[in-house]
Subunit: 342 residues, 2 copies
Amino acid sequence: MKIDERKQRVLEAIIKDYVATAEPVGSRTIARKYNLGVSPATIRNEMADLEEMGFIEQPHTSAGRIPSQFGYRYYVDCLMETYTLSEMEENLIRSRFLQKMGDLEQVIQETGKFLSWITNYTAIISGPGPVVYGRFKTVELLPLQERAALLIVITESGAVIHKKIELPESVTPIDLMRISQVMSDKLQGITLNELRRTILMELYDELQREKNLLQIIIDLLEETLKASEWEKVYLGGIINILNQPEFHNIEKVRRILGVLEKENEIRELLNEGSEEGITVRIGGENRQEEFQECSVITITYEIKGEAAGRVGLLGPTRMEYPRTAALLKHAARALSEVLRGF
Amino acid sequence: MKIDERKQRVLEAIIKDYVATAEPVGSRTIARKYNLGVSPATIRNEMADLEEMGFIEQPHTSAGRIPSQFGYRYYVDCLMETYTLSEMEENLIRSRFLQKMGDLEQVIQETGKFLSWITNYTAIISGPGPVVYGRFKTVELLPLQERAALLIVITESGAVIHKKIELPESVTPIDLMRISQVMSDKLQGITLNELRRTILMELYDELQREKNLLQIIIDLLEETLKASEWEKVYLGGIINILNQPEFHNIEKVRRILGVLEKENEIRELLNEGSEEGITVRIGGENRQEEFQECSVITITYEIKGEAAGRVGLLGPTRMEYPRTAALLKHAARALSEVLRGF
DNA sequence: CATTAGCACTCGACGAACGAGAGTGCTAAC
DNA sequence: GTTAGCACTCTCGTTCGTCGAGTGCTAATG
């Protein structure tokens, strides 16, 4: 779809104004505020064309125009120039991420809070999958009660994963210790990803006698490490939804919050367009019908160079795309930087 | 404050009706629906008295009456008969808590979801403080990077508490191992509560050389174990707030959600009346001014007979006190029962 | 031929007016 | 002490008219 220079400028003006005011914008306003050098009448003609092409729409006759979903898409893809963070914004991000934020979970939650605070949208973040925890350091099996033990995996990066497991009757604490010992020895230094491979064979050899138990433990280990288990999701600034005039309607808010209460939905929201870079999903591009009036920008963050999880911002379709995207990018980079030390 | 039998019945009728309908209730309604055997006119007289005494109020002349906060308080304290769960409710609770719910965190979250679902209010729960984790089993210090180590505490009940700590420069892995060793030996079998006592002295003796480091570690241990750190709080059914007609106003919702986003506030909400049994806080009895129109019922749950955390329900002052309290009691008991196995 | 001024027209927002309905308080009768 | 009767009050929903913003069309303009 080709549109000429002036139409572009009109469209851009409409979007900018609507993003700022949340009110339908009329020809007069554009002529006044964005000096395109033409009269309202001309702009009206352009608007009529833009509407016919599907970039903008009219809530009702004799109202101004608002951008359509398609219009936003065009804007995001073709029109929008990259936003340069203000010095203050840069500083805010920098100083925020220089501060101590505690352990991994806290860092992630703080990032969410920060992003929601600075953008006024709602932040959604998925915690890192286990993939990125790095290499095994120790594996321990501590006897608990009669037939239960605690499986503790510690990785070189300092992540601790623990899970209570049930044992088949016939295991003594001594056995457990032996198994721990052997597993620690064998698994030390390999990555969790490599677990499935030949190492297992070695283990089997070593622990012929406890084959059964070992099988159980390995299964459990794998299960425990499965991504879905570990990709917890976090929310920041739910309230911000209520700040948007388009959501001053309880019914809409309820439906959106309803979705946000379900971890899976959020995960989907985050991962759907899971390319490497930044993803912008506008209105109906979201699978959830509750989010027809929302846009979601997401981006991947890394731990030690490997994609770890995603962080995103959820706002109305009338979103400050350039600024939000820029902030998100910078924050993701800063987050990855902080997590390098983990 | 003494009020006669009939006034009580009128008050009770007003409360019941208002709780059910959320509409001011008039004399005619009471006469019709709750057969007190007197005419509306008589009831009107009683209502005038009740109003003068502060139990009920009038939103405006020529509206019906609604219970005042004081009225609810009187109702909860003196009038309300205990609610017997329906068979279905009993079954729901039973079957819910018989199911596997995974680890501690999951159990707690599921409890919250369940309670919010069955009551239509918002559930708030604090996770168990460290107090209940029982006795030390092992204490480990694993070297991570140059000047960082991982402190891992495992208790006999299988809880794992871990925290990354920073070291003063001068510590070798060997030292760390020695310290771990000694600490494990000395601390094994004592409860976390006893930590502060004489044991520390022994430790100091044993580890003269590492006095400095030990001090740091002990401090850290204490800090890490401090209740506030560990008492994570969970929310269930935030949306339910939106279902209440009194919160169909965005501004109110925003203020309430604003508070609910702050962990500390929730903790306060839960712990303020931290007697053993059930606590009901009505409207202004909550310290937060945002909760003037809310009531909170909380109760303690236990792990192995020791108070562990609190679980509560947050709803409008117009709350179904008897039913909510009964459900909460039963759920807390069931929860404690499930947690016995932890 | 693109642009623009002018103008009639449309539609929602807002406020005033108004009647209906619910509920009260008071008085007087039972 | 209780109740019927009644005037009074206040809210809520409806209707109606006005206002203003904004459009689309037409004809004039450079």
